[in-house]
C-alpha cells in the first residue's frame, strides 16, 4: 500500500502564506498521487550524513509529480525554520508517501462535511476543500480558528471559494484579536460557534478536526456533547515539537 522508497524532490516554488507559514511546491520523481488529508515525510540530509525527517500535511490535490505542503515555522524547530526560510528553488530534499489512510476525505463521500481547523491545522482540510471543488457537490462547512486575522492561512482563497461556491461555507473564529467589524468578540471556539456554523447532528455529517492537541480535544468533546456520533468524528492532532 505504501511504497517505501524515498524519492528525490526539488523545490520549484515557494509562497508566503502568513508571517510564519510558507507553502513549498516540490517536484518529486514518480509521485503516485494522494488523497486529501494524507501527509508526506520530508527527509533532509546534511553533508556529513546526519538526517532529520518530519511529516507534513499535503495542501493541494494531486497534480502530476507536484506536491504542495504548507510549513508552519516553529521557533527553535530543527526542520521547519530551514524549510520555511532557507530551502531555495532547485534545492533537493527527499519525500516518502503518501502516508495516512484514516484522516482522508474521498470525493465519493456524499454526506455533509464539517471541517474544524485550529491554526495550521487548516492544511489537510484545505486539501479536501480544493479537491472537492473539482469533483464533488458534497456540502462543506469550515470553521477556522486563528489567533488574529494576520494568522489566517489561505485567507484570500477561502474567501473567493466560499463566495463563488454555494456548497462551501467558511466561518472564522478569532481567539485573541478579531477584525474591527466582527460582531463576535475574540475568544476560543464555543459550542455556540459549532451550532451556528456547523451541521446539526441529525444531518450525520462526517467531521474532520485538525489542530493542536488542546484545540482538538476541546472541539471533539463539544461535538460529542451536542450529539455527534464518535464514529463520524475524525481527528488529527499535532502537539509538542
Amino acid at each position: 500500500m505504501v511504497r517505501s522508497a524515498w524519492r528525490p524532490a526539488a523545490l520549484v516554488d515557494r509562497r508566503p502564506e502568513t508571517a510564519t507559514a510558507t507553502t513549498l511546491v516540490l517536484q518529486a520523481q514518480d509521485w503516485p498521487g494522494h488523497l486529501p488529508g494524507q501527509h508526506v515525510d520530508v527527509r533532509l540530509t546534511a553533508e556529513d550524513g546526519y538526517q532529520a525527517s518530519r511529516s507534513y500535511s499535503i495542501a493541494a490535490p494531486t497534480d502530476g509529480d507536484r506536491i504542495e505542503v504548507t510549513v508552519q515555522r516553529l521557533e527553535n524547530g530543527e526542520v521547519s525554520p530551514f524549510l520555511a526560510d532557507d530551502l531555495a528553488v532547485d534545492d533537493e530534499v527527499e519525500l516518502r508517501g503518501p502516508l495516512g489512510g484514516w484522516f482522508v476525505w474521498r470525493p465519493e463521500q456524499r454526506e455533509p462535511v464539517l471541517l474544524v481547523a485550529g491554526g495550521s491545522g487548516i492544511v489537510p482540510l484545505m486539501s479536501m476543500i480544493r479537491v472537492r471543488a473539482g469533483t464533488s457537490r458534497a456540502p462543506f462547512r469550515l470553521i477556522y480558528s486563528v489567533r488574529s486575522p494576520a494568522d489566517r492561512i489561505y485567507a484570500a482563497e477561502l474567501r473567493r471559494r466560499s463566495a463563488e461556491d454555494g456548497g462551501l461555507d467558511v466561518a472564522w473564529v478569532h481567539t485573541r484579536v478579531a477584525p474591527e467589524n466582527d460582531p463576535r468578540p475574540p475568544g476560543r471556539l464555543t459550542p455556540d460557534d459549532l451550532a451556528a456554523h456547523g451541521w446539526p447532528p441529525d444531518f450525520e455529517p462526517t467531521v474532520y478536526v485538525c489542530g493542536p492537541t488542546g484545540f482538538v480535544e476541546s472541539v471533539a468533546a463539544m461535538l460529542l456533547a451536542t450529539g455527534h456520533d464518535a464514529t463520524r468524528i475524525r481527528t488529527e492532532r499535532f502537539g509538542g515539537a
Partner: protein, 199 residues
C-alpha cells in the same frame, strides 16, 4: 545514497545513541488519536483476555488494583518521529495477567474503547515487555493519554501501545489492526525503522 540538502545542518542532541533512526527528541508528550477521546470511568472499565478456544478471563478495575503492579521507566518512540526518554509508568505486567491463561496462540489482537485495534505477536507481550499501565509520572493516567488504563509495549512504535485498552484476543493466525490495515508496518520495531509496510 541519500540526496544531500544544500545548507542543511540540523540540531544534534546529546542523546543520539538512545534515539532510533529517523526519530527526534521531544520533552512534551504529544497526543495522537484517530477520534474523540473516550471518557471511561474506572468503575466501567474492564479488561478481557479471550483465548483461541473462546475462554474469557475478565478483570474489573478493582481486580486490576489488587494485582501486583510494577514501576517501569521506558523510552517511547512514535512513528510520527518523536521519541520521549525516561517516561515513568505504573502498571500490571502482562505476564501477571496471562499467567493462568491457557493458550497455544501465537498472535494477539488488542481492542480499545472507541473501536481502535492493533496486532502483535503474543511473545511481544510476555517476559517483562508489556504492561496494562494506569499511572504516568506518578499520577493517574489522563484520558487523553489513554486512561484509565492503556497497553504499554515500549519496544515497539507507540501505536501498538493501545490507549483505553479493553481486551486482547489471542489468535492462531495474525489479524491486522487499525493502522496495520492502513499501510503501517505489521510489527513496528523502531530500531529497524519498521514504519510502513515493506520496511
Amino acid at each position: 545514497m541519500p540526496i544531500i540538502t544544500r545548507g542543511f545542518r540540523g540540531h544534534r542532541s546529546g542523546d543520539d545513541e538512545r534515539l532510533p533512526p529517523g526519530q527526534y527528541l521531544t520533552h512534551d508528550f504529544p497526543v495522537l488519536s484517530t477520534g474523540p477521546t473516550p471518557l471511561i470511568p474506572p468503575e466501567e472499565w474492564s479488561f478481557t483476555v479471550t483465548t483461541e478456544t473462546g475462554v474469557r478471563h475478565e478483570w474489573s478495575w478493582t481486580d486490576l488494583m489488587t494485582l501486583p503492579a510494577e514501576e517501569v521507566t521506558v523510552d517511547l518512540h512514535c512513528v510520527t518521529r518523536w521519541s520521549k526518554l525516561d517516561t515513568a509508568w505504573r502498571g500490571v505486567s502482562l505476564d501477571v495477567l496471562l499467567e493462568d491463561v491457557e493458550t497455544v496462540a501465537d498472535y494477539a489482537l488488542v481492542h480499545s474503547h472507541g473501536g481502535y485495534t492493533t496486532n502483535l505477536p503474543l511473545e511481544d507481550l510476555l517476559d517483562g515487555q508489556a504492561w496494562v499501565a494506569f499511572e504516568y509520572d506518578g499520577d493517574a493516567l489522563t484520558s487523553e493519554h489513554g486512561g484509565p488504563a492503556r497497553l504499554l509495549v515500549p519496544h515497539l512504535y507507540l501505536w501498538k501501545s493501545a490507549k483505553w485498552v479493553r481486551g486482547i484476543d489471542l489468535l492462531l493466525e495474525d489479524d491486522p489492526g487499525f493502522w496495520e490495515q492502513l499501510g503501517y508496518h505489521e510489527y513496528g520495531d523502531p530500531w529497524r525503522e519498521q514504519r510502513y509496510q515493506g520496511d
